[in-house]
């Protein structure tokens, strides 16, 4: 999407994940992914992208994690632009790593701040943003060689700064705590890179733990993290970040993250089997939740664990 082009505001719609993904995620899209590491990843929405097999995607974000690994394992990604691909204590993104090493996907590295600054530029209708990170590094050498960054003197002091291009996703997927039917979104806890990424995006699908009626925030509009002005579709999906966490709602579920990572580390078969058995075989995310946690005991335990940490 071009920067700063006039765009009519649209009215957010409340849709199912399947409807929203079918309507707003196109093959070949630049896809922004929200969440970070093990927190508030848009799992339900990414399950749906996998189910609908929407491919040739360029995935952008800061700390890309499980959702990217699913999309890569499903063969739907041609390129990533990111600060990192990482799950910290749970290891790296093994499918992504193998795909990058085998040159099956192109990769463009940034630091978190330079990537977040690209979203900030897009959010403000600017073509680029200056940063003072990256100077002297191999990260910068590669970006300059690809014409994705320019080193230029500050016009006033003459000191070098790096200009990075705006990043304007065709569509971004995030998961949040709450939204009303007008698309006003509440995120509890850290917001990582998401606010600027959402405001820079042409379309935005937000899945939420709970959808409230229109006007729910009229008495307290400052509670709204992201205005509905930027949101295309709201999807009601309780536990929609599972097995990652949602601050104030539920903790991340280590056994499932660990299990996926062990399989992914061993080779491409693990993630393929996971996607076949836990994503593609189910009609929707609720069916996956019912199959993976039939009694709901893991979800109850993680909700209790979160309450104990607040």
């Amino acid at each position: 999407m071009a920067v700063g082009v006039h765009q009519l505001l649209t009215t957010p719609q409340v849709l199912t994940a399947a409807e929203a993904v079918e309507r707003f995620v196109e093959p070949g899209a630049v896809l922004g992914l929200g969440g970070q590491n093990i927190n508030r990843c848009p799992m339900a929405l990414v399950h749906e992208v996998v189910r609908q097999r929407i491919g040739e995607l360029t995935v952008v974000g800061c700390n890309l994690s499980l959702p990217l690994d699913f999309l890569v394992a499903a063969g739907l990604v041609v390129r990533t632009e990111q600060g990192s691909g990482n799950l910290e204590k749970f290891g790296t993104l093994f499918s992504w790593r193998r795909a990058v090493e085998a040159n099956r996907i192109a990769v463009r590295d940034y630091s978190h701040l330079s990537m977040a600054s690209r979203f900030l530029a897009g959010a403000m209708g600017l073509p680029f943003m200056p940063v003072r990170s990256l100077l002297g590094s191999s990260v910068l050498d590669r970006l300059v060689a690809e014409d994705d960054a320019v080193v230029t003197p500050d016009p006033w002091s003459g000191e070098p700064v790096v200009l990075v291009r705006a990043c304007t996703p065709d569509v971004s997927l995030i998961h949040a705590n709450l939204a009303d039917t007008d698309g006003n979104v509440v995120i509890d806890g850290v917001t990582s890179h998401e606010i600027d990424m959402v405001r820079a995006s042409r379309h935005v699908i937000v899945s939420v733990e709970e959808v409230l009626p229109a006007g729910a925030f009229d008495g307290q509009p400052e509670r709204v993290t992201i205005s509905g002005a930027y949101v295309s579709a709201v999807v009601a999906q309780p536990w929609g970040a599972w097995p990652t966490s949602v601050y104030r709602k539920y903790d991340y579920y280590e056994p499932e993250i660990d299990g996926y990572q062990k399989g992914a580390k061993a080779g491409d078969e693990g993630p393929r089997a996971f996607l076949a058995g836990s994503v593609e075989s189910h009609p929707d995310f609720d069916a996956y939740l019912a199959a993976t946690d039939p009694e709901g005991s893991a979800r109850t335990a993680m909700a209790e664990q979160m309450r104990s940490l607040l």
Binding site: G83, L113, G136, S138, V190, T191, S245
Partner: protein
């Protein structure tokens, strides 16, 4: 590993625990410190609860000045979002604090650290192939803007090459004055390993061994380093933790040994 490898008596600190205590000593009272999870965060928490009660922690995900509860496995773990000044964003932490110049000390890791303290966490050449690593994350931002960088790492030859295959995060770049020429402010770097402490600044532009871990020798360091480090004229020995500090780390900060599986293996889980 046996218990007799440890420092400070039969139930003294394990080598990786000693990294945490030496890391904590790099933090002065009043410092603003950015750290990821694992040993760096534990070092920050030890400092806060011992000699640096006014030190403040910043987490790259946007957590400003948390009161961490045990034991976060991620920078977005609810345990690291506990009772902060503010839960913000990446751009607030890495732009508003780090690039803005409000963070004195940053803790980093890396697959390679070279003679000039440059750090690689992106790509490693391995034979005819290349190994892909997670990438910068906030590391480049931290190394670009903090006044002091502290690296806590195991000491392996392949981790310390003469020159990194790829410079993710700048140390002294090509040597004295190189940061200035690139447009970066100067930096002090301290590398704490299970064998020694190496440090340097822009005026020298390379790392110098300044202290040894208890029981380690200069020969050990040279045998496990891919470059030939300068050796200080007088070498200190890293001190064992003060009484009570080991219990603080083991019983209070990481009571389930999430970052010290070796404690459980050799039966020194509790003091």
């Amino acid at each position: 590993m046996t218990v007799t490898d440890t420092v400070g008596g039969a139930v003294g600190a394990l080598p990786r625990e000693l990294l945490v205590f030496e890391g904590a000593r790099q933090i002065r009272d009043g410092d603003c410190v950015i750290a990821g999870t694992g040993l760096p965060l534990l070092a920050g928490l030890v400092a806060q609860r011992t000699h640096a009660p006014s030190a403040r922690l910043l987490i790259e995900s946007g957590v400003v000045f948390p009161k961490v509860v045990p034991t976060p496995l991620s920078v977005v773990d609810p345990r690291i979002m506990h009772a902060p000044s503010k839960l913000g964003s990446l751009i607030e932490s890495l732009g508003g604090f780090v690039q803005r110049g409000l963070v004195s000390t940053g803790f980093l890791g890396g697959a390679q650290i070279d003679a000039r303290a440059n750090i690689n966490s992106t790509w490693i050449e391995r034979g005819t192939g290349r190994v892909r690593l997670p990438g910068s994350g906030g590391a480049n931002d931290i190394a670009s803007h903090c006044a002091t960088i502290v690296i806590l790492t195991s000491h392996e030859k392949r981790r310390f090459p003469e020159r990194c295959d790829y410079v993710t995060s700048p140390g002294f770049l090509d040597g004295p004055g190189a940061r200035r020429r690139a447009g970066l402010n100067p930096v002090r770097v301290k590398v704490v390993t299970d064998l020694c402490v190496m440090e340097g600044d822009d005026t020298v532009g390379e790392l110098t061994v300044t202290a040894l871990m208890p029981g380690a020798t200069v020969e050990d360091v040279l045998a496990h380093t891919g470059f030939t480090p300068r050796i200080a004229d007088t070498l200190g020995v890293v001190a064992a933790p003060a009484p009570g500090q080991l219990a603080l780390l083991r019983d209070v900060l990481d009571p389930e040994s999430r970052y010290f599986p070796e404690r459980l293996k050799n039966g020194t889980a509790h003091e």
